[in-house]
Symmetry: C2
Subunit: 534 residues, 2 copies
């Protein structure tokens, strides 16, 4: 990870000396290769100048839009997918930015660089190098608008937390907190509350934002950046269609090369009364069209669900707390859209008079488990409200809730689960069990308090005589207790197999329990991460 960073941080220094000539000569695969050129600064370069570059390794050719970074400097950022020798040539509607060429070597990724996260196996995610990505997200909407010291504290909190994704806004949301601590930087030229020049961006804001993106990347955290939000009073929500599109192109050109970027078109899109569904579709298609890196794309709902069949939507970013109160519900959207479902907002762990922010820690953890055994993913929030609303989920800082260690425990279990992702093994029949037929089963009993579980597997992938090992999992106490001995399958009826000796498993009669069933390999060890061979 360090080598990656060095390139990024080096770039400004090199630029100060001799632009273009100083472009780095190598970059690691999935890193950021940046070309910076000096060009015109007269007029309004944000609007007047088109700039970009064509990159090729002889097999693949990629057109990459650039952006104006202020002070007469133009940049284009490219994250190469393959190692080898690459070449670029710039394009512009200004002659002095056109036809500049260069070559560079793309080297193997450094430690911790697994590439960008992509959709994998229809309902799941994986890094580009094939490593499964098991999403355990959190929400810190305005953390980059907090004072810089608080931002540093947020990074320290994240370093010790279980989260591998953070949802965050790109433009400010007004809160009571900001009456004491005004946002230190703004995305556009001008000044609050409403004196903005939407034709000019504020490079300082974006450089700072990028630094935070890179710091999240260092921590192994995906940055799910939200392009539009409905909360404004500053006019970002009533820009013209032309300004919206210029903003989208600028953001995508600046940030899209960072491999941990995900695009969220909007938070609670339906609460933004100034845009229609057709506007969202147009902007979604624009992101898809102008992003050569094809980062993940979603749009997050409030009360009304967007048409998730749109081809530009790579995965579902859902707000519906009720949907993860039990796993039978959580599965339902998955089968509708045949895309990964991330329940990004399921209400927050917290203590407020708002009913969207008063879950107990137990309930937060319960919702994660419901989503998990439905073959979906869940997001966390922490909202212990003070007068100034400086909660974790608003402005970062410290976590107050008690769910995070349990979410770390869940993440560990997920990362030990099969690489292809777990799906309900008997859809619309057994809503509590996800797994891979004949290999791995995770059954979550939720609020039920059974004292016994009969070993029983759905027929698919199972034949007589298979050997399994069973663990009893306490999702709250964070214990995994192996059950002694093996379970050997025998056909019970048209639908199920049981243990040949009728074995059952004792359970402690309390809520939040689960059992994990793993097939034993020839070596007598659980084969949970092995792809089925049949």
């Amino acid at each position: 990870m360090k080598r990656y960073l060095r390139l990024i941080l080096l770039a400004p220094l090199l630029l100060a000396a001799a632009l273009h000539a100083a472009s780095p000569t190598s970059v690691e695969r999935w890193g950021v290769f940046e070309v910076a050129l000096k060009g015109p600064s007269a007029g309004n370069p944000f609007v007047d100048v088109r700039f970009g570059a064509v990159f090729t390794d002889g097999h693949t050719t990629v057109e990459v839009p650039g952006f104006y970074d202020g002070d007469g400097v133009y940049k284009v950022r490219f994250s190469p997918e393959t190692t080898g020798n690459w070449r670029y040539e710039t394009k512009s509607n200004r002659w002095d930015l056109t036809g500049k060429t260069g070559t560079f070597a793309v080297t193997a990724p450094g430690p911790g660089n697994r590439g960008p996260v992509r959709v994998f196996n229809t309902y799941h995610f994986a890094y580009a190098d094939g490593t499964p990505y098991k999403q355990v997200g959190t929400t810190i909407y305005n953390w980059i608008d907090a004072p810089d010291a608080v931002q540093e504290e947020t990074l320290r909190t994240l370093a010790a937390a279980p989260f591998n994704k953070a949802r965050m806004l790109l433009t400010q949301q007004p809160t009571a907190y900001q009456e004491r601590f005004a946002p230190p930087r703004w995305p556009f030229a001008g000044s609050p509350p409403d004196q903005w020049d939407f034709t000019r961006f504020n490079p300082e804001y974006w450089r700072h934002y990028e630094q935070r993106i890179v710091q999240l990347l260092e921590l192994g955290i995906e940055a799910d950046v939200i392009l539009f939000n409905p909360y404004g009073r500053w006019g970002f929500e009533t820009m013209t269609a032309e300004a919206d599109e210029r903003y989208v192109r600028y953001v995508v050109a600046r940030l899209g090369a960072y491999r941990n970027i995900w695009w969220s078109l909007a938070n609670e899109f339906d609460f933004l009364r100034t845009k229609t569904d057709a506007d969202w579709d147009r902007l979604g298609r624009l992101v898809q069209a102008c992003d050569p890196h094809q980062r993940l794309r979603s749009i997050h709902n409030g009360h009304r669900i967007f048409d998730q069949t749109k081809p530009w939507i790579t995965h579902v970013s859902m707000q519906n707390g009720a949907a993860v109160e039990e796993p039978g519900r959580a599965e339902m959207y998955r089968s509708v859209w045949h895309k990964p479902v991330v329940y990004d907002e399921v209400k927050y762990e917290g203590k407020t008079h708002f009913r969207w922010g008063n879950l107990s820690g137990e309930e937060m953890v319960h919702r994660f488990w419901c989503g998990t055994v439905a073959g979906t993913y869940v997001g966390h929030g922490d909202y212990f409200m003070t007068v100034t609303e400086d909660t974790w989920t608003s402005f970062g800082g410290k976590l107050t809730g008690v769910s995070p260690p349990r979410l770390a425990f869940l993440r560990r279990i997920l990362e030990e689960s099969p690489a292809q992702g777990i799906d309900q093994v008997d859809k619309w029949q057994d809503t509590q069990t996800a797994g891979v037929h004949g290999l791995y089963y995770l059954t979550y009993f939720g609020r039920e308090t059974p004292t016994e579980w009969t070993f029983k597997l759905f027929r698919n992938g199972v034949v007589d005589g298979q050997r399994y090992q069973v663990d009893v999992i306490d999702t709250w106490a964070m214990t995994i207790t192996p059950v002694e001995g093996e379970f050997v399958t025998r056909k019970l009826d048209n639908y199920h197999f049981v243990d040949a000796n009728g074995r059952t498993v004792k359970l402690p009669g309390k809520p939040g329990m689960a059992v994990r069933v793993r097939r034993l390999g020839a070596d007598g060890k659980p084969a949970a991460t092995v792809l089925p061979t049949d």
Copy 2:
């Protein structure tokens, strides 16, 4: 209803005497006006001859495709939407069927004729005259393939049953029953098992089918006819695209004028391995394009859900028994598609070794109530299997289960509910309550066994001082017990209103209970069927 029938039954007699000249001179609104002409019978008229007519009342002009009925007779059927004087002119690629004109008067609908059912208020249905239609469906797939005496018994059973919709196949499904009782008629010329001429229909089959459609109409039952099914062994499932389309056009031209027709593209479309999603989309668009009467259209799934956003789909016909095990699930598809959701298959009341056919009567009724308080509709099945599979849901005859009287009771409650349909009043928060804000609330407790309910209403549409009347409903014993006195609203917090005197309602502590809360009008009577004025 009788007047309607007379026209239909009269037509063949008139045709026998003097075709065309004998066309009736009047028809009631939403009835069937039929033109029959003698034409060529050489070659293959089903393929060679195009025939239809243009109908106009001077304001609206409708092109209606006709069909060949055998023996040199061509027919076109039109169901007028408006009263007044109408005129028609036939069109054909044969001169002797072209340019025939006539006039007729469309009179007011007779008793019981409320017009066709259409989508109403996004999630609901109503007859064309505005009367709400509260769907309580049943399934009798192959009843028209049973011996004629059994078909007559089915009609007698339906006359005494609560159902206002019947799902039924258009082509045969093979079952053990048919080894004893072969289907009396077949849709195509030829003979079973596979000697068919798919370019020629068997008019006798279709005339008989039409008679049954009209008999259902007389009973107030919508006929949800299923164009394709995956169960065949006779070759209907492997016809060419051309034959599929000819079949669709023939069925729509023959049956579409009957106002109780609904089109179901397929049963368990995904189990039909011989068609792709693109095929279904093409056939769905074809039904939409060739049906001048625009009857309701759906496609029913097995294990995989079709893309219900397709514009030709008017409502969702869902198979997912788990989705109506509790109302929180049942709501979820509704908010996805913004179309009415009918859970046409939720497993059947019955006794079999199949898990899709072994619900208790209690569970069948429970699923109807779950669907109801989710603002959706549910379908019934009755599958008490014998060796020959002559169950109600396969071949009609008699009902065995105990749910139908309870479904009649539910239908009565639905028909007393607000005309605009009931929706969840606090979506994704209170999953047990459907209603109309400030007017009507129906809360179903499902498998819970509360002994008390605190009068509490969600804030929307409610202010202090509104007066309500409460009924306790036993969904199984079929009782409605009014609670004495009134309940008067007082604001509790940011979300709810309670009774000003803190009144609660006693409940018997058993499953299957519900409460109904109705606003009292100025006259002190429940105003449940009044549209809100605010």
